[in-house]
Symmetry: C2
Subunit: 158 residues, 2 copies
């Protein structure tokens, strides 16, 4: 396959991974959800070198996940804000948190639901019947295109 083809894969997971499946991107997103907006703050909190950081921020803006906004004209100053598309990645960060907390120990991040005030540990649930979901409770049926892509690779000439 080759990593650069992931973006055009028939699998939505692959397509997502191509955009955000990178440790630096994920760290940047974590920061963004905590309210970080400025270049130097991203740098300090993620530990990315400025070179790397500017590449990733550019890429995230190109992908429509962040938006670069000039918040001061003189001197020129910029900030990076999550778009709706970017905000849509919140569940990914939260599920990473859940897993990190459950399986890796160490200190934690406490989540409180504004709506009801409860301290929560949100998991995936069935929107139809409300049951908590895990890998074993769900059957995934992949698209025809994706099926073809996979078969092709089994004995393929690629």
């Amino acid at each position: 396959m080759g990593r650069s083809d992931l973006a055009n894969s028939s699998c939505p997971v692959s397509r997502a991974i191509e955009r955000v499946g990178d440790p630096w991107v994920l760290m940047i997103l974590r920061e963004a959800f905590v309210g970080t907006r400025r270049f130097d703050d991203f740098q300090a909190q993620t530990g990315a070198s400025p070179h790397l950081l500017s590449q990733r921020l550019k890429q995230l803006c190109d992908d429509g996940i962040l938006r670069r906004r000039r918040y001061c004209d003189h001197p020129p100053r910029f900030e990076y804000l999550l778009t709706d598309k970017g905000r849509g990645l919140w569940p990914v960060i939260i599920t990473l948190r859940n897993w990190g907390q459950e399986w890796l120990g160490g200190s934690s991040v406490r989540l409180t639901h504004k709506g009801c005030g409860a301290v929560i540990d949100p998991g995936l649930t069935c929107p139809d019947c409300g049951a908590e979901l895990s890998a074993r409770d769900v059957v995934a049926e992949i698209s025809e295109d994706f099926e073809k892509e996979r078969k092709h690779r089994k004995g393929g000439t690629e």
Copy 2:
């Protein structure tokens, strides 16, 4: 910070990213959830070079996310299976799927809940009141350690 320190960060998200925040690891996990077990199949479906794949599989086994099992003595044959810890990453893959499907278009993966038979698109919900959750509905309160780690970096000498 430096990427290799992420594993010891006070942030559960960082700790998780250190283990699974890599495109190849995520692709391998996607495959594992679809039932792939053998080296060559992982290779064909993820497109990773054998070198890279063997590194990542080793790392995933070391981290207790996969388990290498000999399924045939003569000739020696091995398979890679998800552990409980690995299965715990299912929500991460699913939330990536959700986002990929919602924001990147292309073909899809249909999920059916075995319990109630419904075709679903599972999201995060509050386990207390059942409401669907998004970034804006939840307040994150980080641990003291994590708070310290962040302050330290603001003006720090690091």
